[in-house]
Symmetry: C2
Subunit: 217 residues, 2 copies
């Protein structure tokens, strides 16, 4: 799942690990907690070994022509490869059960702007089905369990049920929107990204957050 998220972020611009993690937090931080370095760096290594990303060796500040005086190790900038882009497309189109659970759905949803409408619908419906099942389970338990469990456990289940019902309604709305042709939400819509084309690879566009220092090349 991390693979998809990282490839998706690097698809928009080359980046080093630290910055990558921050962008990741912005993108999928609404669903799952920020990913840890203990996951990030091994995953980068794996992606590199698979040939999906490469090190784009950062050009050190110009005055550093005398290379490693104090074992200088600068930032490592990663860059997606052509195979990586293919792999990302493949992951985007994937609609298994792992696309419906919490972390998987969050990542998929975060990249919905690059996903085909058809796939979007399939994922939204799969997620809905999953949350509905959870909701039904909680309803059963609550209906049957009032005399068996303590009030706190009951309250926890009630809260869980509420969250599930709410998410189903949210998904219904999204699905309806999707079917009616106007993909995202109507409130606060933003022009400038007119559509669903999946291969927009202009490198280094305006997405650079302020305070960063992207190098030339």
């Amino acid at each position: 799942m991390l693979d998809m998220a990282i490839l998706g972020i690097l698809h928009e611009a080359p980046m080093h690990g630290y910055e990558l993690r921050k962008q990741l937090a912005l993108k999928i931080g609404a669903m799952r907690a920020a990913i840890s370095y203990g996951s990030l760096y091994p995953t980068l290594r794996r992606l590199q070994a698979s040939g999906w990303i490469t090190e784009a060796g950062e050009s050190l500040p110009d005055d550093e022509l005398v290379p490693p005086l104090t074992s200088r190790r600068g930032r490592v900038v990663y860059k997606i490869t052509a195979e990586g882009k293919e792999r990302f497309e493949e992951l985007l189109a994937q609609t298994g059960p792992e696309s419906y659970d919490d972390p998987g759905f969050g990542v998929h949803f975060a990249f919905f702007a690059r996903t085909d409408t058809e796939i979007r619908l399939r994922i939204l419906e799969g997620r809905r089905r999953k949350v509905e099942e959870r909701r039904e389970g909680l309803r059963d338990v609550l209906a049957r369990a009032a005399e068996r469990v303590d009030a706190y456990t009951l309250e926890l289940q009630r809260h869980g049920l509420d969250a599930a019902e709410r998410e189903v309604r949210w998904l219904e709305e999204l699905i309806a929107n999707e079917r009616s042709g106007r993909p995202p939400a109507q409130r606060a819509y933003q022009p400038g990204d007119p559509g669903t084309e999946t291969s927009a690879a202009q490198p280094g566009h305006e997405d650079d957050p302020p305070g960063q220092t992207p190098r030339r090349q």
Copy 2:
């Protein structure tokens, strides 16, 4: 975290793995998905090695006096030990950051009926603080990011923000209830468990779900 959940369940009655998993799902299934056997059995092993639980070797059906004809391996019933009960009390009283994140909070909350009011309040407030931080983060991003991210990412963040706000309100309510002396929710309250005593070790009481076959002893 699993340790606490398992000890808590076994505190109420001895049980074998399969059944344990089902009870676990009932107890904490509202927060986290059902725990897998790939976690359960190794954890049971670990708990046993630590001396917190023991195998209570199931008394096979009476007619089975000829033991292992076909390499018969019956169900393994686990039972909490005195040290295990101590350990459980210790875990109940623990209020670190790990009690505030999603899985940890869920487990703690599920056993609030066995937790001191003081600890309950500390955990609820810690959780609130954590969710508030998350909420603030999402608000900042949403306020600043409308021009930077696509509509889907925006929608995901809006949904996350909504969930966070809702949980904070829920926690406020619980905290207010807690402070005002009447611990759990007022709706659907159930007598029969009158209070907050932390050492109620009557083994095998009425908590046995129907359809199960608890053995004598």
